[in-house]
């Protein structure tokens, strides 16, 4: 700008003139480096949402969960150089859930809803406030009624069998008042015959050999670190930093290596699709058995139980969904969200955000609609405790 430099002070010459400026420059650089470190720690590294080896960890009790204490920013796995359409923060709690820390002991007066199921509504990829679990809790008027806590127990790859195991080992410890099981009418039915396989491998070694069943003993699932290279893309991108640099989040950030990278990594394989109607009937019968067990376990723990048929993205009419809800309605109240989404897509002006682009996960609109319908189903079935009051948060 049009202004003059300050007049040189008399008697200040040579190195003494330069020293204050150098000190300012050095302090500025030090402050900048410190802030880079702070930002790196807050943001976490950027990780493709398909990186099961980073996002998921083996768990001796329940098979696998999200990687506990993980903080990353996910993006939609776009190849380098292409435009990323979204990024989203992911913070995993110490219990491996994509949620805030929940103590097992329930505070007095709190009403708890536990969501169980697969990744479609786990909320990875959207803002926290838009997530099904958060919206479900916020639909309640806290000023006139009880505080509702919705615990996000949705974990990628969880079918009914895994959800049952999670409920038995962990879920009931949260003392839920209501359990809601989200079921995909395709993959969850198929998973009853071909449970999701979870390959495990040492974090720095690639997986090899056939996928192992998730319910095998954990020790048997671990693969030798010197296994032959079969899937190099899952190995770490760069060698780990050593010495002081290993403590620096910014070096890990630059390397795309998360703070809480699991010691043992995991990769999920999709269940084999159902081939014919006879197989579907067998799978559905098995599914009904499992859902009955989940209902029994929930009710034995003093919780109400409901089912939501929650189709994966991309959303397509699933002829089996209606019959699935019909088959399960004898066990518990059931809401089929497929038609809800179809109606929204047909009636909402402008583009809807029902799905995250290129993902099986739901977008904001699907979480919004699902939260309202599930809330209403629980209300109509009188599964909410009487102290819960409907609010009007949008």
């Amino acid at each position: 700008m049009q202004r003059s430099e300050p007049a040189t002070s008399a008697g200040i010459i040579g190195p003494r003139r330069a020293a204050p400026r150098r000190i300012v420059a050095a302090c500025g650089i030090a402050l900048a480096l410190l802030l880079v470190e702070v930002i790196a720690r807050i943001e976490g590294p950027r990780v493709c949402v398909g990186r099961d080896d980073v996002l998921l960890s083996p768990d001796d009790e329940v098979g696998w969960t999200f990687t506990p204490e993980l903080t990353v920013t996910v993006d939609p796995c776009a190849p380098p150089g292409t435009r990323r359409t979204w990024t989203a923060p992911v913070s995993i709690n110490a219990q491996g859930l994509h949620d805030q820390p929940w103590p097992y002991a329930k505070p007095r007066g709190e009403v708890r809803v536990l969501l169980l199921g697969d990744e479609v509504a786990d909320g990875v990829g959207i803002a926290r406030a838009d997530r099904l679990s958060v919206r479900l809790a916020h639909l309640t008027d806290r000023t006139r009624g009880a505080r509702v806590a919705a615990i996000n127990g949705l974990i990628p790859g969880y079918g009914p069998a895994e959800s049952l195991r999670f409920l038995e080992k962990r879920g009931i410890r949260y003392a839920p008042d209501v359990v809601v099981l989200l079921l995909d009418p395709e993959s969850d039915v198929a998973a009853t015959l071909d449970p999701p396989a979870a390959q495990q491998f040492a974090a720095d070694a690639p997986p090899a050999g056939p996928a192992l069943a998730a319910d095998a003993p954990p020790a048997a699932q671990e693969l030798a670190a010197d296994a032959p290279p079969a899937a190099q893309e899952l190995a770490a991108d760069v060698p780990p930093a050593s010495g002081l640099l290993a403590l620096s989040a910014s070096t890990r950030w630059l390397a795309g290596r998360p703070d809480a990278a699991p010691a043992r990594a995991i990769r999920l394989d999709e269940p084999r699709p159902i081939s014919d109607e006879a197989e579907r009937a067998r799978a559905q019968a098995r599914l009904v058995e499992l859902v009955q067990q989940i209902a029994d376990t929930s009710r034995a723990a003093g919780a109400g139980f409901a089912i939501a048929i929650a189709p994966r993205c991309p959303l397509a009419p699933a002829p089996s969904a209606a019959s699935l809800c019909g088959a399960l309605e004898g066990i518990a109240p059931c809401i089929d969200l497929g038609p809800v989404f179809t109606d929204l897509a047909a009636t909402k002006p402008g583009p809807s955000e029902l799905c995250l682009p290129g993902q099986p996960r739901w977008g904001r609109d699907a979480h919004f609609m699902a939260s309202h319908r599930i809330w209403d189903t629980l209300g109509a079935s009188q599964l909410w405790p009487p102290q819960v009051v409907r609010g009007h948060r949008l």
Binding site: T8, V24, A25, G28, L35, T85, T87, A149, H392
Partner: protein, 439 residues
């Protein structure tokens, strides 16, 4: 609630708060504050550079800010646009230059209506929000430069000065709205630390700035997580969801929230700019002390008020002719400027003309209040009434009554301002009726 229940309930709320703030790290505000602090630190590190070099460093940091908050593509687009506008103003003489400048300005204004909403930003809502906020301020600065140079004969500014003033990263996202001339007039000599005494003074300045930065962050976070949580419920139910006393307090809460959040952004902008050698103007001057709506607009978002006065109200004729009409047009322009901002975030499909009414009603309410205030002050027919008030009501009481009335009116005017676009404007009337026990 019993005393024993308070502890667990508070703990649960704090857990919500922690995670809420943790995940809010991806909000525009968190990015602005964090990246702004980083860029300011790099700017401080550039202290040994000569003035021109230091200012080019700052221009580079402004581009980096755009790339970090938006994308490298947006940064390139903004810089190229600025270069083109500067060339149109400075290099193309006469009417062609003026026409070209206004074509460029209108192109920036009209793109939300002409192009799909994610043309520049992808479908990332935070990036749309950033681009909307930033272009709001940037466009006003560009208009000011064209008008100042072409109609008011202000001095020529180099491309470096223009880029620095219009893309200045501390104020680029949410103002204050400063013109190139104002930035040049307020620019201090920068961190030219040549003696030990100056080093000490500069160190103190940086520390004071850090304190103001922290204060701004605290204000925004506290207001975001603790105030105005009931807005959607109240709008959705026309005020039925809350009791009458709560409903009366709600506009006050809206006012308070907006003031705390907005002034927090300004605190951060001032704090980031000061160590770099730029005195950003204050944007608020205790607006709750205003005794009239006109005074309120001299104390609230002052930089925007000055801009509207300089580039809308005075060119229309100011007080000289059709003063009341000019006031209404100016506030209508203010409302439409906010509509334009929302259009850039939501697109024409998500924010159709019916939804524009909230901002338009807010603008007209303020404009009409100022016109009414002028009429009250100036109408000869009201002189007996004014004289009676002067005679019978103590000055102190008149003063405080005027403050309370102004505060109440301005608070009520925020109701249509904060109307969510998916709720009909009728909700505002239903809320107002319920406030006076008619709903």
């Amino acid at each position: 609630m019993s005393f024993a229940e308070i502890g667990p309930k508070l703990a649960a709320e704090l857990a919500d708060f922690q995670l809420g703030s943790w995940e809010a790290r991806h909000s525009l505000f968190a990015h602005y504050a964090l990246y702004g602090a980083l860029l300011a630190a790099i700017g401080i590190a550039g202290a040994p550079l000569p003035r021109v070099g230091r200012e080019w460093l700052l221009v580079t940091l402004c581009g980096a800010s755009l790339a970090l908050l938006g994308s490298p593509w947006l940064a390139l687009l903004a810089v190229l646009y600025s270069v083109a506008l500067h060339a149109a103003v400075e290099r193309v003489p006469g009417t062609p230059g003026l026409v070209l400048s206004w074509v460029l300005l209108l192109a920036l204004a009209s793109y939300p209506a002409l192009l799909p909403e994610d043309t520049f930003t992808g479908n990332t809502s935070s990036m749309r929000e950033f681009w909307s906020f930033a272009t709001n301020v940037w466009w006003l600065r560009c208009i000011a430069y064209v008008v100042d140079r072409r109609s008011r004969g202000t001095p020529h500014r180099t491309l470096r000065e223009f880029l620095l003033a219009t893309l200045f990263f501390p104020t680029f996202v949410n103002g204050p709205v400063e013109t190139t001339e104002q930035v040049a007039a307020r620019a201090t000599r920068g961190p030219a630390v040549r003696t030990w005494d100056e080093l000490g003074a500069y160190g103190l300045l940086v520390l004071r700035s850090a304190g103001r930065f922290a204060w701004g962050v605290a204000k925004v976070l506290v207001a975001t997580f603790y105030l105005s949580q009931a807005n959607e419920t109240i709008f959705a139910t026309g005020g039925q969801a809350v009791s009458h006393p709560r409903l009366w307090l709600w506009p006050v809460e809206l006012y308070t929230t907006f003031y705390v959040v907005f002034s927090g952004w300004t605190d951060i902008a001032i704090a980031l700019a000061r160590p770099l050698g730029f005195e950003v103007q204050e944007n608020f001057d205790r607006p709750w002390r205003s005794r009239s709506v006109a005074e309120f607009w001299r104390r609230w978002h002052m930089s925007f008020g000055v801009w509207l006065r300089s580039y809308v109200y005075i060119p229309l004729g100011g007080n000289r002719r059709h003063g009341s009409l000019n006031v209404l047009i100016t506030f209508l322009a203010s409302g439409l400027w906010h509509v334009w901002g929302a259009l850039k975030v939501l697109g024409l499909q998500g924010y159709g003309p019916a939804a524009w009414l909230g901002f338009v009603v807010w603008g007209l309410m303020n404009g009409l209040a100022i016109v009414a205030g002028r009429w009250w002050n100036d109408a000869p027919s009201l002189e007996p009434l004014r004289a009676a008030l002067r005679e019978h009501v103590p000055p102190r009481l008149r003063h405080h009554a005027a403050q309370v009335l102004t505060f109440g009116f301005v608070a009520l005017a925020w109701v249509p301002f904060f109307l969510p676009p998916w709720i009909d404007v009728d909700a505002c009337w239903r809320i107002l009726l319920r406030m006076v026990f008619l709903g």
